[in-house]
Structures are given as structure tokens and as C-alpha cells.
């Protein structure tokens, strides 16, 4: 018997992505997941990731090929709109 202990990957959704997912976050098993793209496929199924959405891994911007591991925090971020309105 093999006992496998894993810490989940924590996935966060913000703004419009959260509305679309219908939830703010997910905890998923890292098993079988290699990259951020794999994480998206797991949480969103067939739905493609909108091209304007950015990804952060452990509070740093990263790309879809970024490797993931147990305990990582992965966030999907729509285009940011902070600061003033004054363009």
C-alpha cells in the first residue's frame, strides 16, 4: 500500500473570470498537472482561456507553460484596470 500525501494547488479567479467561473477559487490535486495550461484545462474543461487573461503563479506574472507543483497558488487575471480613469 502506498500512501501519497499532496498539498493542493490553489486556483483563484478575479473580476470577469470569477463571474464566468461562478466561483472565486478552487483547490485541485496537482496530480497529472505539469503547467498552468494544464491547470486551466482541469478547472475550465473545454472552455479556452481568453487571450487577454494573464496568469500569476505565487503572486508573480507567469506564462501558460510555467511548471506547477503542489501548494502553488495559480491566479487567472482579466486585463487590469487600476489607477485613475484618466487616459
Amino acid at each position: 500500500m502506498i500512501l501519497k500525501l499532496t498539498v493542493p494547488i490553489h486556483v483563484k479567479y478575479f473580476a470577469g473570470i470569477r463571474d464566468r467561473m461562478g466561483r472565486a477559487d478552487d483547490d485541485i490535486d496537482a496530480d497529472g498537472l505539469k503547467t498552468v495550461a494544464d491547470v486551466w484545462a482541469r478547472v475550465a474543461g473545454d472552455e479556452p482561456l481568453p487571450r487577454t487573461v494573464r496568469v500569476a503563479v505565487n503572486l508573480e506574472y507567469a506564462d501558460l507553460k510555467h511548471q506547477v507543483k503542489d501548494g502553488d497558488e495559480i491566479a487567472f487575471l482579466p486585463p487590469v484596470t487600476g489607477g485613475c480613469d484618466a487616459g
Partner: protein
């Protein structure tokens, strides 16, 4: 060097005064303070905006704002920086963001201040949701910084 995400209203001028009073900078050291205040407008893309909710990514926001402050200090000869950004519910006219830079040199103060607001706008994880007359919507993109020189 201070970075703060604030829930609830702030008065930018009182914040500037408070920061400067609390600062350890000797009084006669800096010669220049460049600051920028962004406020909420009551219109955007042709629609009248009633109110707005500003969401952010706690943890990542502060980390990112700290990184651009450190980067500004590396690039320019500046003494201190302050970034204060509002989150939560806002009314038109409310200050949203304050960026200030203290320096012995006015060019460095201006350039670093401009750099901080541009970096903040392009990458800091904040999202605005506007309440229009009939519905609400996530703001889709930030406005570019293109100069209006020769405009009007």
C-alpha cells in the same frame, strides 16, 4: 518607500502631508516632490457612471507595487516614494490613486512618478466594475497614456 491598499475614502493631500511628517528624511534634503492623484470620473466610454467597485488581488497587489517602487529607486536618484490605492466601493469624484516621489532633482521626481503610475496602470492587479444606469460591467481595458500635446 510606502505602499498601501486602502478600503474606504482617503484625502490625498492629507496623506501627502502625513507621509511627509512621518518621514525620516531630513527637512532640507529633498528639493522636489512630484505627485499624481487619479480620481473617479462620472463618465467612461460615453456612458454616465454612477458608482464603481474596485477589486484587487490581495498579496499580489502589495508585492507588485513594492517591486515597481524598488525599481524606480534603482532607476532614478530619488529619496522616497508613496503609492496609495483605493479598493471597494467608490463614488464619482473620489480619489482612487495617489503616487508621490521625493527627490533632490525635479527631473527624477517627475520621471519616477510618471513611471510608477504607468506601471501601476498596466500591471497592478486591480479591476473596476462600473455601475451604469441599468446594469454593471467590468471595465475591459485601461486607457493608453498617449500624450494630448497639440490636442484641444
Amino acid at each position: 518607500m510606502r505602499v498601501e491598499v486602502r478600503h474606504g475614502e482617503f484625502n490625498p493631500w492629507e496623506e501627502l502631508q502625513r507621509h511627509q511628517q512621518a518621514s525620516l528624511l531630513p527637512n532640507g534634503r529633498h528639493g522636489a516632490i512630484a505627485s499624481f492623484v487619479g480620481t473617479m470620473r462620472d463618465f467612461n466610454e460615453g456612458d454616465s457612471v454612477q458608482a464603481m467597485v474596485l477589486e484587487h488581488y490581495p498579496g499580489m497587489t502589495e508585492k507588485y507595487l513594492g517591486e515597481i517602487s524598488a525599481e524606480a529607486k534603482k532607476r532614478w536618484d530619488i529619496l522616497d516614494t508613496l503609492i496609495l490605492h483605493r479598493v471597494g466601493e467608490l463614488q464619482p469624484g473620489d480619489p482612487i490613486v495617489l503616487v508621490a516621489v521625493w527627490s533632490a532633482h525635479r527631473a527624477a521626481a517627475f520621471e519616477a512618478c510618471r513611471y510608477l503610475i504607468e506601471e501601476l496602470k498596466s500591471r497592478a492587479p486591480f479591476w473596476k466594475k462600473e455601475s451604469l444606469q441599468e446594469h454593471s460591467r467590468w471595465v475591459q481595458h485601461n486607457t493608453p497614456a498617449a500624450s494630448n500635446r497639440g490636442g484641444r
